[in-house]
Structure formats: structure tokens, C-alpha cells
Subunit: 120 residues, 4 copies
Amino acid sequence: MNWSFQTDRPIYLQLKEQITLLIISGQYPAGSRLPPVRDMAADAAVNPNTLQKALQELEREGLVYAQRTSGRFVTEDEKMIEQAKNQLAAEQIDRFIEKMAGIGFTVEETLALISKRVKE
Amino acid sequence: MNWSFQTDRPIYLQLKEQITLLIISGQYPAGSRLPPVRDMAADAAVNPNTLQKALQELEREGLVYAQRTSGRFVTEDEKMIEQAKNQLAAEQIDRFIEKMAGIGFTVEETLALISKRVKE
Amino acid sequence: MNWSFQTDRPIYLQLKEQITLLIISGQYPAGSRLPPVRDMAADAAVNPNTLQKALQELEREGLVYAQRTSGRFVTEDEKMIEQAKNQLAAEQIDRFIEKMAGIGFTVEETLALISKRVKE
Amino acid sequence: MNWSFQTDRPIYLQLKEQITLLIISGQYPAGSRLPPVRDMAADAAVNPNTLQKALQELEREGLVYAQRTSGRFVTEDEKMIEQAKNQLAAEQIDRFIEKMAGIGFTVEETLALISKRVKE
DNA sequence: GTGGTCTAGACCACC
DNA sequence: GTGGTCTAGACCACA
């Protein structure tokens, strides 16, 4: 996995987002075992505690669950995953709309630009 | 200014993007003088050479021009700025569409989601 | 405040419980400002991060809220506090029932013993 | 055995309580020989003198008796054990009632809450 | 070897 | 001076 981070948002939130994406995209299928915290942390080049925090947030949201001795697992509840997908999309949209506003486009203009862009 | 960077894209491209945004938004107005490279580099906490590279790209595109002795200036050509604005928007859109595709939404679905999200 | 801890439960959970009690009992009234994390941590003789974790849990439950620069405050929502009171009571009851079961008394026996004990 | 302690009550009283529980629950059966003081102290991670004090209290109450050369034994008197059980229960009840009062519930309310909680 | 907790100490943004 | 984040490193229970 290629982890990447921005400097202006907490790393643990970005980890949460990227792990969510891995689950949604099926790279971590429903019910499957996640890699150990330490391994994932080493892979992402962050402190294990930081990754722990991200995973605990995901746990609170119900997307993953921990079994103390045997590891962490993706939820088997497909609805949960579907919901995470929608929430992730909503966040992306909000962030995008905000960026476009920063550039100087209203939502309507943005929608028009996307449509036009795609037709090209 | 609050500079922020991602780990997975060249810094100079991100600098270029953010400076463009400052110009578009009028924080660096048309015709105005840009701060010295060293100051900007220190502010953004990047190597002056990196910033230099970003500015040279902006020069090549015509958004900025240099005067031998007195520094760099934002173009006075408002059309140029308008064009930069559109290009920046196009890049944002492409990146966003790509992200949404990664989550699992087509462009049509994405457009629908934005409309719905805004109405809420 | 006299903080006290058991060795067999996470400190942050006990902190959460004791702070909840302070709020319920009105020592930290609704809407009032809590002491700074560092002060409370020093007072309780725990690491600020541990106290932080307890407070963030309370925040997630809605019992307190943070204002980044000016400190943490108890919620103004009295219903929230009432609810916390009931939840705290429920936890105490569960723990007590469990203890009595460990000694060898059923719930019915325990209820009888309490009634008897009070009449004395 | 999993020993656990609170910071706000004398350790020897807590040791006494937990040993009593071991006797009541039959883990140290009536008439059986207790482990050597040093072993128990090491297990509980307390000073042998502290454990000694707890055992002397238990002796004074008649729950345990010492034989000069061969160690300490649990009493064979089942009534004694029964009595210890009731006393331990009484202590738990008092402490629990006090806690519930601290939260803001009378004994009557507490009894009602327990009944309700159990039915759920 | 797994997740969980705790400490110490640092740096940051915000006002 | 406030809360928030991150790192490094340690120890624990569990099986």
C-alpha cells in the first residue's frame, strides 16, 4: 500500500480515511483480518499509537472490531461498509466544493464545469 | 499564509498550485510585486530552489514575470489570470473525479450526489 | 478533589467516571469551565495524555465540549447530565451485582440483604 | 490469582477482603493449608509485612488459624465461613449504597433501579 | 505475538 | 496559555 499524507490535517484522520478506502474497495474484504497494528504502522511509517487511534475510531464507528489476542477484523456487516462508502464520498464532496469555492466557483458553476469537462 | 503539502506529489507542483490560488483570489493582485523568493521559501518552509522552480513554471505559463533587478510581478493580463483559474479548476475536478471513482462512483453518480448533498 | 484508582481497570475509564461524578454532583456545574487538562492531570497525578483520553471520551458522549483556545466546558444540556447520571448508576449496579454474585448471592438475595441492612 | 488494589484504602484491608473471598468461594477450602506468606506476598506484589498484617486480622476473626511449625490453615468451622461471607456482603452493600447516594439516589430508588436493571 | 494502556516529552495552531 | 497531535518506548493480559 502507498500511504500518503497532507501536512494540514491530522495524520490519524487521514489514516482512517485511507483504511476505510481499502475496506470499501475490497482490498480488506468484509470479515477479513487486518494486518497487526505494528506492521501497518511500520508500513505507513507512522507511530503505532497514531495508527491505533485511527483504528479505534474505525472501531467506534463499527467498521472494524478487535479481538484482543487474535487481531483486528473488518466487520461482516455489508451495510456498515456501504454506509462508510457514502460517508467517505460525502466528505470528499464537501472538501471539493470548499476548494472550488476557494478558487471562486459556486456549486452550480462547479456542476456545469464537471459536466463540460467530462464531455470533452 | 498557511502552506500545506502532500507527501505523494512533487512539492514544487503544490507550491505552483498554491501560489496560483493566491493570485486568483487576489491576495497577490494583478501587477503587484511578489515577496522575495527567500522570504516565501522561509514562510513555506521549503528549499528556495524548490520555490524557484515553481516560480519558473509560473513564468513560463505567463502568470508571473521577472524584472532583472526589481523582482517578480504578477501579470497585469486579467485574461491570463482567468485562464489560470480555469486550469486550476480543471485540475481539481480531474483529481476529484478520480477519487470518487476510487471510492466506486461514476461521474453521473457523483454529479447526483453533489446536487443532493447541496440541497440538504 | 481526591482522586483514587484501582489497579484492575484502565485509569482513563476511572478518570472518566470520577469526572462524570463531579459533573453530576454539581461540583462542575452545567456550562462551567473545567480546569485545564494539565492542571487536572497534575492534580490526579496522571499523565496529561491519559486525562486527555478520558475527556475526549466524555466529549464524544456529549457531556463536555472543548473550545480550542479557551478551555473545556460542561454541557449546558441538563438532559445530557441526567442521562450520564443514569448510565453511571447502571454501571455501578452491574459491577455491584457481579461482586455479590462472586461472593455467592443471587440478585434476589442481594435485594433482600439490602432491605434488611437498611432497616437495621 | 489476580490481585487488584485501590489507592484510597489501606492495602492490608483489601488483601483481607480478597483472601476472605478466596476462602468463601472455596478456592482455599475449609481446613486447607494457605500458601506461605512470602509466596502470596510475591504473587500479590505487596510487602510480606503487609500481607502478614492482613492474615493476623483474619486470625483474630477466627477465619484462619496458625500452627507454629506447619503454616496457616483455613478454619474448619463452616459457620465461621458463612459468617465471613455475610460480613463481606454487608461491607459491599454499605459501600455500594454510599456510592449510589453520592450519585444522587436514595436506597429506595436504588432498589427500584436494581430490580428494573435485572428485568431488562 | 496480539491489542491495550500509560508515560514522558515535544511541537503545533490559535487568540 | 489553551487544547490537539505525534513520537518513542515501556509494560501488561491473554491464549
